[in-house]
Symmetry: C2
Subunit: 103 residues, 2 copies
Amino acid sequence: MAPGPYGAGRSIDLMARTPLTPWERERGERFGALLREARGERSMVEVAAVAGVSAETLRKIETGRAPTPSFFTIAALAFALDLSLDELAAACVLPEDGEALSA
Amino acid sequence: MAPGPYGAGRSIDLMARTPLTPWERERGERFGALLREARGERSMVEVAAVAGVSAETLRKIETGRAPTPSFFTIAALAFALDLSLDELAAACVLPEDGEALSA
DNA sequence: GCAGACCGTGATACAAATACCGGTATAAGA
DNA sequence: TCTTATACCGGTATTTGTATCACGGTCTGC
């Protein structure tokens, strides 16, 4: 079904709410690592408070245990961390994945 | 808890998984309208296929019935629609919202 | 030792996202 | 008219996000 360049990564579509693929979970780990790196020395509690999300949610995202967070949650965190959403998405998808560049 | 400027919009935090606020739902409608406008004449099926999401998901997002979609779903759609995630988020949160800065 | 921040994990709970199905409606085309 | 394509809607199913609580670990300072 052609996942597409930035594709969400779905390949099976027989069931409702397909479970996340290993690739999506790895992407979530890389994504969380980027956020953690951008947080630097600041504490989770502070950044989470500024963004308006719970510290546990930020922790899950950073550790990759919430691999597909909501757009507005990430937008709030990106603003709190002074990050670009476009660069964030690009940095998370582009690195060494040259297989989905067909469409 | 200070939702912050780009705040996710949460104000009550007594229960687990607080229901979406009316403000979040309105934001979802504005967000969906932006995507629909950007889609132009292209069909839902085509754009959804390029992005790698189902047409139903795209329709729900556009109609605002899925007000808080996942980050990577939006990233895929933004790429398919040639949109900037930063501009998308800014256009959705900034316009005339001076009320979410208090609580 | 003790208290207080952080960070981490696990369990729990509820709401929402995603996807499939069927049905409906409309408009364009053969 | 019949068919096709598109979009909307309702229902259903499963997975996931978000948030709370509880507990344990690691520091630092009192």
